[in-house]
């Protein structure tokens, strides 16, 4: 069934738009900076639209925030009460990803479990929000919930079933990278963009340090797309653009053993310690948010792992007795300023916009808003031509983020081309490794 379908390889030539050219006959060249889920999906999106794509990632692909996520393909319900546009988008993407990535999911659904009076009181608001966002929900009485998941806290009041699924944080995005490369995109891991080259106020390409070969070189581009996630502020600063991208640092744990088959959420307003994602023979639980300055130096605060385990053990008591396998943290990027980025000197962002690389600052918009934002820096107060930033979203919406950015890039280049990724079945992740 789905497992076998996942191995069916698409015909490399099928459905790919013919190579696009400018009126001069030159093929337009796009450089993507950042090899996370968004960058990978964007490389696939643009390769499918017939553009010449090169992607640079300073480490291994998916080694930033992408690989660190809990592996949740969420139904949209987690955002329903706080961020409706993202919830609606997530619900749609949940269905699309299952269709284009067969074999990548444990399609076991999820439960939002009510344990207390407060949880019960939250049900009305939650259901109303899910209904408004077209997120399907089914009420499950206590006894039925315990038949599905015998490990649940027997004191639960009831549960709400949603269409969550679990995935592999690295292998799902790998399918986008593999398919992009099959269609001619160049994917270059271990290549750090160390400078953005410009002519006047127009971006002309990037300078790259290739750590594998041990050399530096320049690559020209008609558009450079900043898809560096929590690092997007640093990349924008290379082009002299000040971009207030902060991040939310979230700790997670993995414990030994499989403590549930379904995803288990706590039915309450989104908070810490309310998510359990089973994964193969392990169980991942999260999260605990904390402040940090550097997305590359996220040390899980003392006691955070224990706090997560304590909270999720209220949902699944056996987790409280399980051996802790790992504790780690991921930086989820958040665009802090609502307006377009501002141009600063090339030396880097001005003081006061240190959020470009730092943690969330006071007065920032809701940290629970994870809208996908695409910025064309040609429309900045101090315009920079040829630079686009895509930031926000999450693992469930990597394809949607790529579609939004791809539409913007094609419009910038003057091409009228349609995104077709929602219907394109991706190569299996193993194709990434084939020569």
């Amino acid at each position: 069934m789905s497992g076998l379908a996942g191995r069916a390889a698409p015909d490399p030539a099928a459905d790919v738009e013919p190579r696009r050219t400018f009126a001069s006959g030159r093929v337009p060249k796009v450089v993507i900076v950042g090899g996370g889920g968004t960058g990978g999906a964007l490389a696939h999106d643009l390769a499918l639209r017939g553009l010449n794509v090169t992607l640079f990632e300073k480490g291994e692909i998916t080694s930033g925030s992408t690989g660190l996520h809990a592996g949740l393909l969420h139904s949209g319900a987690r955002y329903a009460t706080t961020d409706r546009p993202s919830a609606i988008e997530s619900s749609a993407e949940n269905k699309i990803l299952r269709r284009i990535c067969p074999g990548s999911f444990e399609e076991n659904d999820g439960l939002f479990v009510a344990l207390t009076d407060d949880d019960e009181a939250y049900e009305g608001e939650f259901l109303e929000a899910c209904w408004q966002c077209a997120v399907p929900v089914r009420r499950v009485e206590r006894a039925a919930a315990l038949r599905m998941e015998p490990g649940l806290n027997p004191d639960l009041r009831f549960a709400l079933q949603v269409s969550d699924a679990t995935m592999d944080a690295m292998r799902l995005p790998l399918r986008f990278f593999a398919t992009a490369r099959r269609h001619g995109a160049e994917i270059r891991p271990f290549c750090e963009v160390v400078a953005v080259t410009t002519a006047g106020s127009t971006v002309t390409g990037v300078k790259v340090r290739d750590q594998v070969a041990g050399r530096e070189y320049e690559v020209g581009a008609d558009v450079v797309i900043n898809a560096a996630g929590a690092w997007a502020g640093r990349v924008a600063a290379l082009a002299g653009v000040s971009l207030a991208v902060g991040f939310e640092a979230a700790a997670m744990v993995a414990v030994r053993g499989r403590h549930a088959n379904m995803v288990v959420n706590r039915l309450h307003s989104p908070g810490d310690g309310d998510l359990v994602v089973p994964q193969r023979t392990m169980t991942v639980a999260g999260t605990s948010t904390f402040e940090a300055d550097d997305p590359e130096d996220l040390r899980v605060p003392e006691g955070a792992a224990e706090a997560i385990v304590r909270e999720v053990a209220l949902l699944l008591p056996s987790i409280g007795r399980a051996e802790l396998r790992s504790a780690w943290a991921a930086a989820q990027p958040v665009l802090l300023a609502s307006g377009p980025g501002r141009r600063t000197t090339k030396a880097g962002p001005k003081a006061g916009v240190a959020g470009a690389t730092g943690a969330l600052v006071e007065g920032a918009p809701s940290t629970r808003t994870h809208k996908i934002r695409c910025l064309d820096h040609a429309t900045d107060r101090t315009p920079v031509e040829g630079l686009v930033t895509v930031v926000g979203g999450d693992a469930t919406r990597l394809r949607a983020a790529a579609e939004a950015a791809g539409d913007l890039v094609c419009a910038r280049l003057g091409f009228d081309c349609r995104c077709s990724t929602a219907d394109y079945v991706l190569l299996p992740h193993t194709a990434w490794y084939s020569a």
């Binding site: 690989g67 038949r147 271990f190 379904m262 790992s326």
Partner: protein, 238 residues
């Protein structure tokens, strides 16, 4: 705390490797990967190390630590020793640079078996919810290749297909999911396949994902042998 590391270094095309010593600065409960990433962040951004999930799920950060194949993210730095911790790339495959190795050959062997990525129909003792036919889960193997790097047969002869691919074949035989078993069994009995296993069990000892390849190979071998015996008797009888 400060941890001393001695890390194998090489660039693409280098015929020789050398070691660099570093002092990493890590918090309590940290792993070898945490230490390597601290080195890359503070001391040497050119250090090439492959990683993604940091919880033994992606299988990307396989290295040798003091000679033993491990996942760097799954190896705690709890031992205090005056000797530096030696970190090297996994044996038996080409080095891309520093600690990253080429996984193409490993995946080609896995691909030849074609294990479907999702297992179905387990566990049997619970009632799946409406709309979910049967609970499913991803196959346990995380394709890290530690078993192949640890296998004493594969270490001396690179042509041995190795424990991971054979354990994958055993899973296909156990749960075919529409697979034709003939080609998988034929692959398993090729000269460089299951009969080469010497039951050293190093594969199971290093497996970070509870696949237990040694047991899987034992089961597969027994099944193949039983089939052969049956065939012999059938021939003798008739």
């Amino acid at each position: 705390m400060t941890v001393r590391l001695r890390v194998s270094r090489s660039r693409a095309g280098d015929s020789k490797r050398h070691f660099d010593d570093f002092e990493a600065n890590v918090g309590p409960g940290s792993t070898v990967l945490d230490a390597l990433l601290d080195v890359r962040r503070r001391l040497d951004p050119s250090l090439v190390v492959r990683h993604s999930c940091r919880h033994a799920s992606c299988g990307g950060c396989g290295v040798r630590v003091d000679g033993r194949p491990v996942l760097a993210c799954d190896t705690r730095l709890d031992r205090r020793s005056s000797r530096p911790i030696v970190v090297e790339p996994l044996d038996g495959r080409a080095v891309v640079a520093d600690l990253a190795t080429d996984m193409t050959d490993f995946h080609a062997r896995m691909d030849a078996v074609g294990l479907p990525p999702v297992r179905t129909g387990e566990p049997a003792d619970v009632v799946p919810p409406d709309g979910v036919g049967a609970f499913s889960r991803l196959e346990s193997c995380i394709e890290c290749g530690l078993c192949l790097a640890a296998c004493p047969v594969a270490r001396t002869d690179g042509s041995f297909i190795g424990p991971a691919a054979l354990a994958a074949a055993a899973r296909v035989v156990e749960e075919p999911r529409g697979h034709e078993l003939g080609p998988v069994l034929a692959l398993a009995v090729e000269p460089d396949a299951i009969w080469r296993c010497r039951d050293a069990m190093e594969c199971t000892a290093v497996c970070p994902a509870a696949v237990d390849p040694a047991r899987a190979l034992f089961g597969l071998r027994r099944r193949i042998a039983a089939e052969r015996v049956r065939r012999l008797f059938r021939r003798a009888g008739g």
